[in-house]
Amino acid sequence: MERMNVVIVGHVDHGKSTFTGRLLADTGSLPDGKLDQVKAWCAVNARPFEYAFLLDALKDEQAQGVTIDAARCFFKSEKRHYIIIDAPGHIEFLKNMITGASRAEAAILLIDANEGVQENSRRHGYMLSMLGIKQVVVLINKMDLVNYDQGIFEKVKSEYSNFLSELGVQPAAWIPVCARDGDHLVHHSPSMGWYHGVTVLEAMDCFHKEQSSELLPFRFPVQDIYKFTAQQDDRRIVAGTIASGRISANTDVIFYPSGKRSRINTIEGFNIQTPHQVSADESTGFTLHPQIFIKAGEIMCKVQDPPPQMGTHFKANIFWLGKQPLVLKKNYKLKIGTLRVSVSVEKILNVINAAELNVESKGEVARHEVAEVILKTTKPIAFDTAADHPHTSRFVIVDEYDIAGGGIIMANHPNASSETVGIESSIELSPIDPARRTLLHGHSGKAVFISGIQAARIGKEIEQTLFESEVLSYFIGITDHQSIDIGLHSIRLLTNAGFVVIVAVDLSPTEIVDLAHVITDSVVISDTTPVSDIVASITTVIH
């Protein structure tokens, strides 16, 4: 049976927890004895029973009488399993509301018929639109307090409907309810004979599962690159979760922002038949051929697909949750997809009061405000715009140790530079079979990585010795991270041309092993090994 996450949102005290508690009770979803246990607790503590107490599993909450966090409960209808996320309505807990809502595919928003549309009714509506939740049902609750009056229902509906349409949100249903009494939750109610629409449960069963992003262009944010050597495993696996699209083996791929190209060799997994194809939302891994040096955080795309945008400046809509306001020029950490990069605010275009949608011009963005800003990263990044592709347009901003805000990229900023290294993609290699070169030269090509502080001196000595014995040899020294890409490219060209390339690398031992692994036919040797031994073993392997 399918599952769906639905979040319950709305202003504080508009009845979210009562609604959820009653919904669980009316669908027979409570554990045996739970209702009696809570009623007994109320009797002992001289509190009138409330369905909301069912959810307030924590002492904290019972003491304060407000939901502070998004609690999850489970129930099922005849159609599917539901996970109900009861989000807090108090402004102080906006970050918890966002946490809950971001996991949802649909939302139920409650408005108190008596109090009407309040600040967080609007703020939560705004957050839903920003988080990309399009399926919304609005409940006008506590109809008993307004004598089940249809006129009041219509008035609240019309006011809130205007607000939502500015955000581009179209509710699937508007339902008058009295959550405490269960009116229109699971059963129709005689007290509102004028209402002929669906019950809440029926409306929920009409939510549809989110369209899979399988048909969008392929986007694979690289989460990590694994080379586990235990049990003689020599796979070098590019791991991650597919954001959109699908891919199979033998597909040509390109990584952004580096612009490097390769081809999917195998699709990897554990305890599965190797799949022919993998698609959106799957956590998977690939081996590549040829091996290339790429880093976590790049986006792997199909060569044939439209590329993502690239640049250092972009326009974004953000919401801010940090205790400290978001300020200009300060360095923050941006997390977008699997990339982490340093970022600062170049310009605050305007600050929008989420509750009123008023626009102000300010020099900072305070807690719980939303804003339109220009962000600037220290390095070019690859991304999509929200209109093109929701998944790869979303980011969070980390201030010190905490996620302090989130946002979506609206546009690449005009003066942004679009840079890609692209060196490997733009050079065509020789078509001559390497085996024929081996016949010609009398030996094969090989890359020999020397590690350690003496690497350069030893490497040159080895080159000299090999040269004297008529081996095509060539020394390359790589002294910093900036030279890695160009160095690797040269090594690949020279080994391809049949040379024995002696590479002295001034990097950490693990980095050297990782580097060596992207070159076919390579070995790593420490500078503590005697030169004569190294030369002897090279001579053996190339002949």
Binding site: I68, S102, I237, A239, L321, G406
Partner: protein, 294 residues
């Protein structure tokens, strides 16, 4: 993708985030069904490997089959196993089974405190030597900064409010009123010195999902979960034997358990109903969890 595929993909993603960002990473292994699924998911995430140690807190009151199963699988799957224990309390008989303290105080000492001081490396801990098959003193106990735990939101109230990445303070305290936001698969992976983060890849799984997955993947599971011989009792949740009681159930294998959970009498009975410490006082477990209990 079906619901199990989705749960698996999400858990794998969380594992990989944890492995990428926490250099001192470990995973709690309680031998039960949840942590066995957790271990399986780790092997999914890392293509058959488990690239961090598993930590078992041995209260010395564990059901004996649990210890046998632990040692057997650790050797078979080439796991880096670390064992921690509150040896002082056990030696001085300051435990509930010895009659000197109540259940909650016993959990606090043998589980919460033992975990805390095993994680931060201040108490001696043992390490499995794969060549001898024996546990030996861990001579370089480094503190863990990331700890993977198999808690599920549907287990009991306090767990339903957990985050996937949940920061713990210097004293391992959990500030439930001020938890980090989590959205769009972005988690709290930055942390101040001295603090650590609990990582919960199973948060969205239900008890039924766990058994459905064990069935689908054919995961070897300790047999104390099954009714044996002519008896119609089995354990539904595993813990220390003085405080864990079997439930009435005739289920003899994984598919019978799945069927029983889907349709049978457990539909409306809490999974941890056989765990006596949960009932000691209304918020005992929650109080313990705030102080660092798993």
């Amino acid at each position: 993708m079906n619901h199990l595929d989705r749960l698996e993909a999400q858990s794998v993603y969380i594992f990989r985030e944890a492995y990428r960002d926490f250099k001192q990473l470990g995973m709690l292994w309680s031998i039960g069904k949840d942590s066995t699924v957790l271990l399986w998911l780790a092997r999914k995430a890392f293509f058959g490997h488990v690239p961090f140690p598993l930590i078992h807190i041995d209260t010395s009151y564990k059901i004996p089959e649990m210890i046998r199963y632990r040692n057997e699988k650790a050797l078979e799957w080439n796991l880096n196993l670390i064992v921690g224990q509150d040896t002082e309390s056990i030696k001085n008989k300051r435990t509930f089974p010895d009659g000197s303290i109540d259940r909650i105080a016993c959990c606090k000492a043998l589980k919460a405190d033992a975990l805390k001081y095993t994680l931060d490396g201040t108490w001696p801990r043992l390490k499995l030597n794969h060549s001898t098959g024996q546990l030996e003193p861990d001579t370089s106990p480094t503190p863990f900064t990331g700890v993977i735990v198999g808690a599920r939101a549907d287990e009991e109230g306090s767990r339903s409010k957990e985050r996937y990445f949940s920061p713990r303070g210097i004293d391992h305290d959990w500030d439930i009123a001020d938890q980090p936001p989590e959205f769009w698969n972005q988690y709290k992976t930055d942390f101040a010195p001295g603090t650590h983060v609990r990582i919960h890849p199973l948060l969205d799984w239900t008890e039924l999902n766990i058994w459905e997955y064990i069935l689908r993947e054919n995961i070897p599971i300790i047999d104390t979960y099954f009714a044996k011989n002519n008896e119609n009792i089995r354990y539904r949740s595993l813990g220390c034997y003085p405080c864990t009681h079997p439930v009435d159930s005739p289920s003899r294998n994984v598919s019978e358990i799945v069927e029983e959970l889907r349709t049978g009498k457990f539909v409306n009975i809490a999974e941890r109903s056989g765990r006596a410490q949960d009932k000691e006082d209304g918020g005992g477990l929650e109080t313990l969890r705030r102080e660092g209990y798993m």
